[in-house]
């Protein structure tokens, strides 16, 4: 393990200042970062922790919604009563990811910013494109776990479960950096390899995520489903977060107001199934056939040689997620 320094920032300004220097990286629980430092995939001489910055490890009510500090642990998010009540998809995503140990140590900021699991990226022996290398080794190799859409020279899937749920819940992220802070929708935060091969989001160097904001008007019903190879400590083969809100149709029925259907495990970013969302909006809830909606998922997918199975898998779990939200199982 290369030696490094660990500093706990005392304030946000302090953190921003410390991160402005080269060789510095922000660290949450270190569950993703430290193995990469150990294996020489990420070079970091100074790790800056946020846990001591006032408020950043907390989850609080605000304006009818919730604000989650970036240093709040995944276990705290999963166990928070407000999250479970109002933002079920997030609670389910957080409560079921990784292992109890990782949920206790890992933070929401770290989870959203964790690096891809593609084993060509993770192997210290392979100089893949994402690490500034010469090519994607996965294309000629094993593509079973890679994306079926959105790849561009690099074919990772984004590994975060909470990102998928937050996207469906219309959450926003607040950042801080040298040039001040900004607030952006989760959907605008993540960015695929077409934009930057070496990063998975739009953060500038030295910029960090400070808070996650869950809006008061997020769709009221949501669910998170995930297919994986083992019951604990495993990333999604495919996952879905679906969120619906309902309006009164005027004659006693319910009409779908907002609809968000977001997939994990299929693309380099949380993937919004907009075709399904558009199809759902305005329909009478009782008249929706989940299978018909799910058939619209991933219309333009371009699976790699070994991952075509993800497409029927994705359609099947979207169908199941909608059925459970609509009560039409």
């Amino acid at each position: 393990m290369p030696p490094f320094q660990y500093i706990e920032a005392e304030s946000l300004d302090d953190a921003v200042g410390l991160l402005a220097e080269s060789g510095a990286a922000v660290v949450g629980g270190g569950t993703d970062l430290l193995p990469q430092v150990r294996d020489g995939i990420v070079a970091a001489e100074r790790l800056v922790g946020l846990g001591a910055v006032p408020g950043l490890a907390e989850i609080s009510e605000s304006g009818g919604g919730l604000v989650i500090g970036a240093a709040a642990t995944i276990a705290d998010v999963a166990g928070h009563s407000g999250v479970r009540r109002r933002y079920a998809a997030l609670g389910e995503a957080a409560g079921g990811l990784a292992t109890p140990q990782i949920r206790n140590a890992g933070t929401i900021g770290g989870n959203l910013n964790q690096r891809p699991r593609c084993w060509y990226y993770r192997s210290p022996l392979i100089p893949c494109l994402k690490k500034g290398g010469d090519r994607c080794y996965a294309l000629a190799g094993n593509t079973r776990l890679l994306c079926v859409t959105g790849g561009d020279r690099c074919y990772i899937v984004h590994p975060s479960d909470t990102a998928v749920a937050l996207s469906a819940l219309d959450a926003r992220l607040e950042t801080a950096g040298r040039g001040g802070g900004r607030e952006l929708a989760v959907g605008d935060f993540f960015a695929g390899p077409g934009r930057d091969l070496q990063r998975e989001n739009v953060l500038e160097p030295g910029e960090l995520v400070v808070r996650v904001i869950l809006p008061a008007d997020a769709p009221e019903r949501s669910v998170y489903l995930k297919v994986r190879e083992r019951e604990s400590g495993d990333f999604a083969l495919v996952s879905v977060a679906a969120a619906l809100s309902f309006d009164d149709s005027g004659d006693g029925g319910a009409v779908i107001g907002q609809a968000r259907v977001v997939l994990g495990g299929v693309a380099p970013v949380p993937y919004r199934a907009v075709e399904v969302e558009e199809w759902l909006v305005g329909r009478l809830a009782s008249g929706v056939d989940p299978a018909e909606a799910a058939a619209l998922v991933l219309p333009n997918a371009t699976p790699l040689p070994q991952n075509g199975y993800k497409i029927p898998m994705a359609r099947n779990i979207v169908k199941r997620a909608l059925a459970s939200l609509l009560g039409n199982e």
Binding site: P2, P35, D39, T99, R117, W119, Y120, R122, S123, P124, L125, A140, G141, N142, R144, V227, E229, R230, E231, S232, G233, D234, F235, L237, V238, Y309, P312, M313, N316, I317, K319, R320
Partner: protein, 758 residues
């Protein structure tokens, strides 16, 4: 009858508290004054010629004390039996991860830095990764000098890259197929699996100026390793001393020499003790995992379901070398015809060189692979014939008086009873649970495992403290064997188990003993320990008789005392003396202290009984995601006396869980000879959330060859698991999956193919 009944009690592990409090010393914990750290440079290519190797820049790194390549070593090969592996690659590398150079430095960082500065020029050679393809005449011959290697089981058969072609069988297969009404043939694939022990390989070697080598290594077979090291180092065995250390998990993987031969040369060249510890990337990339296998079985059956002929073939991918196999081939391949009465049977097993990682032993070597094949084949025949797989098995199972397909003749064949108990406990004759939207299935599998043999030397002593001590040079790999051996001493000397101590000696202090493995320990080590304890008991009684003023035949042991009770001659006579006091009267024996010592050596014979294990699995498959959930699992074992129910059950449960990982998820993925699953995030072993409710059925009453008529239990539970689950999956889907592991993705494909009628 002894008052303390040590045998049969659930005694917890003696070393447990030290392990959980961090007191136990593992090889990586040992330090010597002046010790350096050793690191190896590994080949990035699966097959290449080494054009040039320049270590000058590495030598200049501050803190570096030695940099060595093959040019610095004697031209000698190493192996557990087959000596085909160079300590450092000489002129050619044959797998990605092969060691080509090594550094010893003051600290690990300096050694790592030096590795990066070793300049190697390679010229890539055409590699071969597929074992079957490697056998074809046109494939590159990876070991042109094969016939000159020491340790081949027989002269090479002449098939390209095959270094062991072993056959088993009986009868005349051609005649058998001529008698058959129906013939079935199926092929199966089993994957590359890692043992996933917690503790990586580690060693510390000190090449002393006196010419002696002191070695600490987490190898479970110290005397065998000493022979291997003596052969490659060119030292007499007496000059090599292997010291005891704790072993953090084995599962068959800790029998290979790994870095120990190399570490000695680093020590020799630096003049300092050197420690090498593998990290988990190296472990997953280049240790000694379980062999992948490609298997084809053809069976001839009578219309009534009786098997008449079976022809089976297995090709094992040995990888670049055969050096990590103690028998060169895998004996367990003799299970490829199953536990059935088949008059005409033949097995051909091929051990093939490829440019993949070299394979070694893993828990019941070859058996999980071949039993997956033969037990899946058994179900597929039953399905195709419209027979119940349970009934089909019962028609053909071995019974008393039968000879196994490879000619074993056992007494007390309890195959049918063991299978019946498993089926009964799984509710085989009740309807399968129906759950809307899911596919459910049940499957059975059965195998046998007879205990391995070996030699063992044990010494038991007793001094004035009265606490018996067991001395041996035998390390517990984490199975609890030390605890069971202490129970035996306690039983024979009628003292409580916690009064029996163990003193682990180094290899210079005891005669040869076989290490842990092959379900041999309770049998072989057990008989030696019981032998030594009984001898000590005789000596105690002999020494006590005059002190008690009684003839020896009136004297016995009770509760840690030597006792003389009333006899017809002396009706009111009762005297006792503590065993420690008897020992205190004895002349100096052990390290100059007063006491009594007894030593016993035992060489075991292949037992005339085997042990059956039958399992039943129930699965639920989500047809929309392919997710396979094992909802229920039954494991039934043909056992003798149970010496320690807690440890016995530990082996059963651990075996089932390891088998479940093999069945459902564990696979070292390789691409062109490179392992891609280089962490435990990618190489998935089951978590507690994946474990189904487990029912263990002990079919007691057999008489095993181990002390107190017991049988070993270390391996059998992990053997049929994959087959039982695969058969349940086939039952659920209505179509088989013939390659392990059984993933969601394969289940989806099988469901799709069945629906589209392929």
């Amino acid at each position: 009858m002894a008052i303390y009944s040590a045998i049969g009690s659930s005694i917890t592990r003696g070393e447990g508290p030290d392990k959980v409090t961090g007191k136990s010393l593992y090889a990586a914990d040992i330090t010597l004054p002046g010790m350096l750290w050793g690191k190896a440079l590994r080949s990035p290519f699966p097959h290449a010629r080494i054009v040039s190797l320049d270590t000058s820049r590495a030598r200049a790194v501050p803190g570096v004390r030695a940099v060595i390549t093959a040019a610095d070593l004697p031209d000698s090969l190493v192996g557990r039996r087959l000596r085909d592996m160079p300590v450092l690659a000489r002129g050619v590398v044959r797998f990605a991860g092969e060691k080509v150079a090594a550094v010893a430095a003051d600290d690990p960082a300096a050694a790592e830095e030096a590795l990066l500065l070793i300049d190697v020029e390679y010229e890539e050679l055409p590699p071969i990764f597929d074992a079957a393809a490697a056998m074809s005449p046109g494939a590159p011959a990876l070991h042109p000098a094969m016939s000159s290697y020491e340790g081949l089981p027989q002269p090479p058969s002449g098939i390209n890259n095959v270094f062991a072609h072993i056959t088993w069988g009986q009868g005349d297969v051609a005649q058998g197929f001529a008698e058959a009404d129906l013939v079935f043939e199926h092929s199966f694939n089993a994957q590359l699996m890692h043992q996933a022990y917690i503790e990586p390989h580690a060693c510390l070697v000190s090449a002393e100026p006196s010419g002696k080598a002191q070695v600490w290594v987490n190898n479970k077979d110290p005397y065998a390793l000493r022979e291997q090291l003596a052969a490659v180092w060119g030292l007499p065995e007496e000059r090599i001393v292997l010291h005891p250390c704790s072993i953090g998990g084995d599962f068959g993987g800790k029998g290979s020499f790994m870095d120990a031969p190399l570490c000695y040369y680093l020590s020799l060249h630096s003049g300092r003790p050197v420690k090498m510890v593998m990290d988990y990337i190296q472990e997953l990339m280049a240790a000694n995992p379980r062999h992948p296998a490609v298997m084809t079985i053809k069976s001839g059956v009578k219309r009534d379901g009786a098997l008449v002929a079976r022809q089976a073939r297995v090709v094992f991918d040995s990888g670049a070398y055969g050096a990590f196999k103690p028998t060169v081939y895998l004996r367990g391949a003799d299970h490829l015809c199953g536990v059935y009465r088949i008059p005409h049977a033949r097995i051909d097993s091929y051990m093939v060189y490829t440019n993949n990682v070299p394979k070694g032993h893993m828990r019941s070597p070859a058996k999980p692979q071949v039993v997956f094949a033969v037990e899946s084949h058994t179900d597929l025949i039953a399905r195709e014939m419209g027979l119940d797989p349970y009934e089909f098995r019962r028609i053909n199972l071995l019974r008393d008086g039968d000879s196994s397909p490879v000619g074993h003749q056992w007494r007390e064949i309890r195959a049918d009873e063991t299978l019946r108990r498993a089926a009964q406990s799984a509710g085989w004759d009740t309807p399968k649970p129906a759950k809307p939207g899911t596919l459910t299935g049940r499957g059975l599998a059965i195998t046998d495992l007879s205990q391995g043999v070996g030699r063992f030397a044990a010494r038991v002593s007793i001094g004035a403290s009265g606490r018996p001590k067991l001395h041996m040079a035998f390390w517990d790999t984490g199975t609890g064997s030390h605890t069971v051996l202490r129970q035996m001493v306690a039983q024979e000397l009628s003292v409580p188990v916690d009064e029996v101590d163990i003193e682990l000696l180094d290899t210079s202090e005891m005669p040869f003993s076989s290490g842990s493995g092959g379900t041999r320990v309770t049998y072989t080590a057990g008989q030696a320990v019981v032998g030594a304890a009984r001898e000590l008991r005789r000596q105690l009684i002999r020494a006590a008789a005059p002190l008690l003023d009684s003839p020896e035949e009136d004297v016995s042991l009770h509760s840690g005392r030597v006792v003389v009770g009333p006899s017809p001659q002396r009706p009111a006579y009762y005297r006792t003396i503590a065993i420690g006091e008897v020992a205190a009267h004895a002349p100096a024996a052990n390290h100059g202290e007063a006491g009594i010592v007894a030593e016993y050596e035992f060489a075991s014979e292949p037992p005339d009984v085997t042990s059956f294990c039958a399992q039943a699995a129930e699965v639920e498959i989500d047809p929309e995601t392919g997710a396979i959930t094992v909802t229920r699992f039954v494991t039934a074992h043909d056992v003798g006396a149970i010496l320690n129910p807690l440890l016995h059950q530990g082996q059963v449960e651990g075996g089932v869980i390891q088998g479940l990982g093999y069945a459902l998820m564990e696979e070292l993925q390789t691409e062109d000879g490179h392992i891609s699953t280089l962490s435990f995030g990618d190489y998935k072993i089951p978590t507690s959330a994946d474990i189904p409710p487990l029912t263990t059925v002990l079919v007691e009453g057999a008489s095993g060859p181990a002390p107190y008529r017991s049988k070993g239990i270390g391996e059998s539970a992990n053997i049929p698991v994959a087959a039982a689950i695969a058969n349940a999956v086939t039952d659920a889907i209505g179509a088989p999956i013939t390659n392990l592991p059984l993933t969601a993705e394969k289940a989806m494909t099988a469901i799709k193919n069945r629906e589209s009628g392929n």
